[in-house]
Symmetry: C2
Subunit: 531 residues, 2 copies
């Protein structure tokens, strides 16, 4: 074969000095290449040396950001003012290509970092997304530049192989047969939940893919049973996939906000009497609202007994599997048919990185059934055997496994286990602190790293509890020291912290409580809320 690698270095017309050679020392800095490419495009925008300079600008700013351990929440800006600031950074050149302006880049990055949610600060206790382990961001940068869409092995060989490796590594904690299970990555937990439900729907109703819901006229309606605190994406999936969100059967929760298995049986029976054919049971590990872990062992038995597909939405909590201390929260996971697991939550990688596991690898082919000649090769071979395009929704898919696999390869499992264990311990500590405070109400004993509570001093009437929590949350947010969230628990608002940052200590939590108390008392004094 002819090797063109060194023979044909054309394609670039140099009007200026030589561009950066492939072996240039990162430290050296000769004058930048200028001129145009054969295409007439200025070399500038595609110049490798300029890329390095831009990267250095950004790395310095990110380094500063990561080393800033000050306590801060959110710097909430009026969108109109922010739009003005953003527009002021835009070139006014309409017809020609503007030359690169380092000040514009610096301005954009500064504005981006400053106005963002401060996930790396100890003031951040707000939501389920997390500051990333820095190395995972570094590898994600490689993905952004090399651009290897990973639904097909030939386009992204290492990501395809890394998916297989991570599947095996993580399945060691799930416990399925090594040759029997399957895993695909997909763009977020909502898409993973939809994909699993489609596989379940298509297995239970083999004509649905081709004929749609109309093909079932006169038969019992397909339905999905869920815990009452299930993530909104599951009910949304029912609406999307033509089941109809009215066919969501909500199972009652026990006092720990887990699905109550005993009462679930009666609800399923009642659903059958109403003409519903429940084909899938969705459990949560843990719930978004309170971090409750449904009893998978018992639910697995129930599902088997009734011929239901058991899908576990472990977007948040599946990561507890990697900890020897905490794995028991998912006892029975091996009985599930499918599992959603967000690495961008509790494995601390850039979003999205969602893993969808199936106990039975044949089932992973059931969510979508179709062929297209330009993407799906006609005969599988050792290469196309690693293609995932028939199993995941996306055609072009980010090689999202790379940050996770790299962290796992470089630091090993213990990094994740230790961080998760700390976060759960911290949350238990926070709960113990709350219990001793007479003006706060605890709502549950936290199972993981989500804690819900209310400020409820003597003199606050039941009818005002809801509005006071909402207003406290808003004021805490606008003061800008801490970011927390709110959630309705039994239809009354509660304050919610999610401990995702290992730089948060119980001392920070005490400071938060002090701020809540001050804000809450001000509120009750100044402006008694009315409904």
């Amino acid at each position: 074969m002819t090797d063109y690698r060194s023979e044909y270095p054309f394609g670039v017309r140099h009007d200026g000095p030589e561009p950066a050679s492939a072996g240039a020392e990162p430290g050296s800095s000769p004058p930048r290449a200028t001129g145009t490419l054969e295409s007439g495009l200025p070399l500038d925008a595609f110049d490798a040396r300029l890329f390095r300079e831009q990267s250095e600008t950004v790395v310095a700013k990110l380094e500063k950001h990561l080393s800033d351990v000050s306590i801060r929440g959110l710097d909430l800006t009026d969108p109109a003012a922010l739009a003005d600031a953003a527009r002021a950074l835009m070139t006014t050149e309409r017809t020609r290509i503007a030359p690169f302006d380092e000040r514009k880049l610096a301005g954009i990055v500064d504005l981006y970092i400053r106005t963002g949610i401060q996930v790396h600060s100890p003031g951040y206790m707000g939501r389920q997304f997390s500051g990333v382990v820095p190395l995972s961001g570094v590898i994600d940068f490689v993905s952004s530049v090399v651009n290897q869409p990973s639904s097909f092995y030939e386009a992204a060989q290492l990501p395809s192989v890394a998916e297989r490796i991570m599947a095996e590594e993580l399945n060691a904690f799930i416990g399925w047969e090594r040759d029997g299970f399957a895993m695909v990555t997909t763009s977020g937990g909502s898409l993973a939940n939809l994909t699993a439900l489609l596989a379940a729907r298509n297995q239970a109703f083999p004509g649905f893919w081709s004929e749609g819901g109309s093909g079932l006229a006169g038969q019992p309606r397909p339905a999905v049973a869920v815990g009452d605190d299930v993530h909104y994406s599951v009910a949304r999936a029912a609406g999307v996939m033509g089941i109809g969100d009215a066919q969501i059967v909500r199972l009652p929760l026990n006092e720990r906000h887990q699905i109550c298995v005993e009462r679930a049986r009666g609800v399923l029976d009642a659903a059958a009497r109403r003409g519903l054919k429940v084909f899938c049971l969705v459990a949560s590990s843990g719930t978004t609202a309170m971090g409750a872990f449904d009893p998978l062992d018992e639910l697995g038995d129930l599902a088997r007994e009734r011929g239901l597909w058991l899908h576990v939405d472990g977007a948040h909590g599946a990561s507890l599997l990697v900890s020897d201390e905490l794995r028991h929260k998912l006892r029975g996971i091996e009985k599930a048919d499918s599992l959603t697991w967000d690495a961008h939550k509790m494995l601390f990688t850039p979003a999205p990185c969602t893993l969808l596991f199936y106990r039975n690898k044949e089932n992973s082919l059931g969510a979508f059934r179709q062929r297209a000649s330009y993407v799906f090769d006609e005969e599988p071979d050792i290469y196309t055997a690693l293609d995932s395009g028939e199993k995941n929704f996306e055609c072009t898919k980010r090689p999202m496994i790379m940050p996770l696999w790299t962290l796992w390869a470089v630091y090993g499992r213990a990094l994740f286990a230790r961080k998760i264990e700390y976060l759960c311990r911290l949350t238990a500590d926070a709960h113990r602190i709350l219990v001793r405070e007479s003006d706060f109400e605890t709502l549950h004993c936290p199972e993981a790293n989500i804690l819900c509570f209310r400020f409820r001093p003597a003199g606050l009437g039941d009818e005002d509890v809801h509005d006071v929590q909402v207003e406290i949350r808003n004021r805490i947010k606008s003061e800008g020291n801490f970011l927390i969230s709110k959630v309705d628990v039994d239809e009354v608002a509660a304050l919610r912290v999610v401990m995702m940052n290992h730089q948060v200590t119980s001392e920070h939590f005490r400071m938060l409580l002090g701020e809540i108390r001050r804000v809450g008392r001000d509120l009750l004094r100044q402006n008694r809320p009315s409904r």
Copy 2:
């Protein structure tokens, strides 16, 4: 309010020297902080200075990669061998956190780059994904580290504002009323197509979201009309959303592989007679297979006349709108109801970055209908007005607009227009070259940057044409100089080039033809294929 920013710098217990201070000069390099955090985690993995060193390693490798203009295709590796190489880079530490090892990182990045599809090489003419403009990768790096999920304004203020700005900038080329249209970003063209079809379905069948397809018993079945070359994601969407892929009505194409509007009327009439209620017409700008642009102006009239939602899948070709020379390919786009536009294709940003436009902003609320207290705020305000979580499928969504907006802000529209114009000109040149070669068959006059053709020398029987193209494609791929794709055109395989790289010249295309000819002749001589 209390300002904790400077008062409480705790949370870190130092066993070693001070960690990098927030204002450290990027140039200086004191010994790295070691020790542990309050959490017991080693500081190392989260150290900002180590982050900089890791970034520098990666930037040097990416700089080298970007400056390598050698001609190369794919280095296809046996997955088992690659898995061994990958496993060799993994720590064997199972219980403790392994210390950072720079050689492992270097090994991972080298392997990742070497085994990837070489989108930045002139040998790459293979698919519709592209080398990125380097600056867009740099900004995507910021997104990977700061982690601002962008379905909610408060979590990602600048991305939310940048979405609005880019929507306005790009709508200037579509031409909808400034106050009337809407745009959301979503994770890939397939998800955008599904989202638009859901909005169309829910508008035409208001009970479908809640009741599903079973609710339509006895009524005409919902159906979607598409051009015969439509992307597989559209038929897949019909299967997903409970319409059923058998209810895809395929419209015939004319000799230019565009939807033939005259014949389409008859096909729609026949569908109605079969009991189908077509509610949506999907046009392509352009098609994946051949880059054909459907006649939007006429299809817009047809859709209006029959009360159909017109969705345009412009994943590949919508970007031609930014060029004054090429915009006419989408003449009539203002008549569409929705438009899918992948910035990660012809606007050269990291994947995914898909924009979904609606002519009527009310329609953008129709795809998903649901509320959840922990994410959707109860009363809209100036902040939550920019939330997109009710309009896009994802809950956690990458701030994918940032690379696009940054390129647009820094370089302006002309960068995109010039590059696209060059790629389309290059493709027309390639077609002119082919026409003059008697042993090649041209299949269309390319409308954009996709060109399909066959090697068809005298003596190659009709019955062998298909297999010879497939085998040529595979051999070209395995020789490793060029990467091209194949597609079936009228059920016979053809070779396909997609010109996404401005460093490709017509000289490279001539070299490719030379290689195809050599490989093809060898094939015919050595091993006459049999079916």
